[in-house]
Amino acid sequence: MKITNQVVEKHGLNLEEYSNIKKFLKREPNLLELGIFSAMWNEHCSYKSSRRHLKNLPTKGKQVIQGPGENAGVIDIGDDDAIIFKIESHNHPSYIEPYQGAATGVGGILRDVFTMGARPIALLNSIHFGSPEHFKTKSLLNGVVSGIGGYGNCIGIPTVAGETKFNKTYNENILVNAMAVGHAKKDKIFYSKAKGVNKSVVYVGSKTGRDGIHGASMASAEFDENSEEKKPTVQVGDPFTEKLLMEACLELMKDNSIISIQDMGAAGLTSSSVEMASKGDLGIEIHLDKVPCREENMTPYEMMLSESQERMLIILEDGKEKHAKEIFKKWDLDFVIIGKTTDTNKLTLKYNGKIEGEIPLDALASKAPVYDRKWVKKKLIKSKFDFKKLKKIKIEDALIKILSSANHSNKNWITNQYDQMVMCDTAQKSGADSAVIRIHDKEKAIAVAVDSSANYCKAHPLTGGKQIVCENWRNLISVGAKPIAITNCLNFGNPEDPKIMGEFAECLIGIKESCEFLNYPVVSGNVSFYNGTNKKNISPTPVIGGVGLIQKLEKPMDHLFKKKNSDVLLIGKTFGHLEQSVFLEEVHYILDGRPPEINLVNERNNGETVLEIIKKDLVNSVHDVSNGGLIVALAEMSMGSDFGIKIKKPKNLTNLYKYFFGEDQSRYILEVDKNNLERVEKILKNNNIFYDNIGLTQNDYFEIEDELKIDIKKLYKINNQWYNNY
């Protein structure tokens, strides 16, 4: 086949990139080689637009064992325990084929974690759909939720936390981000860097089929009206085989057989072999006739670009082949030596002894294109919003409208479809500020949470980026965990548009500021660009997945009121920031103005003080104040509990709406027993923390003095009907 300009463009490469390919090869590539360049140089694998910005993120810290650049990030949680985690997007495939797209998203991220030697202990997800009224939303929601559940439930890893949001910005491009968290021994962590020449390169796992060919390239382009035709590029998941692969790998990892290991994820055999060899400054030779194939007459091109799931590439120590083979045989998996490491610094592909393609590895890895794309700053808009012009609505009616909306309804309908309890270490499930997972056989536990704030990021990317890290930090604090590190999934539109690139660059600056100030490094992550259809880009949606540590899990802390007659303290200052709030969006259909400011000093002081109070066992329940403001947070503490609250009328703020629905940041609510009140107040005063005693818990009713009184059972019902009626 002749490589015409059209063929080049079909491979997602531009002509300048193509001329660089010819320079690297000092000749024209053949189709196989072009395919490999296309797989390695696309946005998804090369990070060519994002790399310059990503390198500014703080990635180091006392507890960081491995930052970005490996299959997943690794942190130290004391003793000989390490936590390995990462979040990844599977947006494009999930839009085309929701069940398989979401399922293989889960499968892919699990492999990233167990490849490094960790037994996965928790799954999380962040899923964003279009408006509920959009004709596709319902089937996408059903497909994605059952896909996530189908994979996690079968492999037997609990899906413990997540977020689900609806917004018309995702009408034509949903987001499906999956996060996996695993536990490993510190001295048993496996990396992808190859070492030594003439070592066996082994293919294990499922056979290779024609599914997912060019999947990574698909994820590097916008959708158009023909997107449905891309269905064949979506991979098909087999969680049972993944379970076998996971157990077999973990069994082989018990001794010293493995030099390096890499899962075949995006761009399959191509990216795994290139990554292992290039990281080790070696070459690699692969005999494609040995690759186990599911279908007949597969060409080298198809084998190298297939994204069939549940496959791994392993480089073995000399003499370990037989031992390793026995383990994979026990688990009924393919195990084939398909090549060896070389000292040529080239990727050499042979079929029946004949060289089919040969590419210098640096051209595919270190010398892959990096772009300094143009970007423009977003100004803080002046709000046109005038409170006096809003339609009058009673506080009670506004609250009910929010609690019964798609975005703020209870998500049990979703989370009940996920096995949250398997492995028997889930101390806190979905619905809390963070999930809490005990480390098996130990006293300690980790807290995990995922968060995003697309509206804030859209309004002002820098503030939004800053805010989302803080919100995630707050969620971990609220369950009594010390936040350690994050992973991020950066979902954005087309980076070739300077406005979109600006959203990306500025969100990252915001993320960096918060992470640096809070000592909350980024240890892994993923960038997903080109989220949009026909030039309509999604709102910038960075998703943050955080992990924190609870040194000794004695009783999990959650947000539900526990007793009557406890004092309820609001930590942090309330200014009444209504712009970009849920109140305006859900009640008045206005999205306007600036996101709330973040004061990082207050954020840190408030958080550290709340954590101190929780650790001293002085509170009954804790909740952070986020979307919807104070009133929604208090309602959440009442719904599902046996106790409500009687809220005193605030003395200073004259505008009740601003007081109750304002989304000022860095705030927490604490439920404190009368006996502990003095001690708690002393700690707050000592640490110079602003707080207010806002009311008392009581039986049965959610009440604001002289304003409203609602039965909490009624609130619960209101909050639990949206999904069932959808």
């Binding site: 439930n153 079968c154 492999i155 037997g156 076998l244 026990k330 989370t415 009940n416 479809q417 005990r438």
Partner: protein, 225 residues
């Protein structure tokens, strides 16, 4: 007491049940599905999970597996057999327990804590519970909708072979308290000799107050008695 847990390649509650058994001082062994012999056991547990992937009917392949023949032989000799979740599905596939587990009525996977009522507390599996005691227990299944023919249902009722029924927290057994559409809210049944119990809920998940509660512990204590 010696127990054996059968491990299929897709079992995923095998570790959980092993932890529970060991916590209750059982001498437990894991038995890989390719084994053709069972160690000496007073109790055999077929755990939850997805045996061989369950892409065919749940438990269909496991019901014909090598090791399950040994389980059937042991059952015939009176060994105690406990099938939980996928284990229950497998036991119905072997015929050791009658009836079938259909897809949940809402056609979705369900994981949540539900209440069940102890219907028969005069068996090796349930003697530490009180009759009509209400437990809070976790379910996690896609096919837990128990169904059987009317003859067998009569036998279940007449011979007191229903172990547990789904109920609400006050003990009411009705459609509202039935999570998956099971006939007569059945959550677990015995065979006629009452040496085999199949149940959809997971007692091994209810062994620790820090995680859930300890409502499952009495099942294991009953077996030890």
């Amino acid at each position: 007491m010696n127990s054996s847990v059968i491990v299929f390649p897709g079992s995923n509650c095998d570790r959980d049940i092993a932890v529970a058994l060991e916590k209750m001082q059982f001498k437990n062994q894991m038995v890989w599905h390719k084994e053709s012999k069972l160690p000496k056991s007073d109790l055999i547990v077929v755990p939850g999970g997805f045996s061989y992937g369950d892409y065919l009917r749940s438990g269909a392949i496991a019901g014909k597996s090598l090791i399950i023949n040994e389980v059937i032989k042991a059952a015939d000799k009176g060994c105690l057999i406990l099938g939980i979740c996928n284990g229950f599905q497998i036991l119905t596939e072997t015929g050791l327990l009658k009836g079938v587990l259909l897809r949940n009525k809402n056609l979705r996977f369900i994981n949540k804590d539900v209440n069940i009522k102890i219907i028969n507390n005069e068996t090796k599996f349930s003697n530490k519970y009180k009759k009509n005691q209400i437990l809070k227990i976790n379910i996690a299944h896609n096919e837990g909708n128990y169904f059987t023919n009317s003859n067998h249902l009569k036998i279940l009722n007449n011979e007191n072979l229903i172990a547990f029924k789904y109920c609400d927290k006050n003990g009411n057994i009705n459609e509202d308290s039935n999570p998956n559409g099971s006939l007569e809210n059945i959550a677990g049944i015995f065979n006629s000799k009452k040496n085999i119990l199949g149940m959809m809920p997971h007692p091994e998940r209810m062994m620790d107050n820090l995680i859930s509660n300890t409502d499952g512990a009495n099942l294991f204590l009953s077996l030890l008695k």
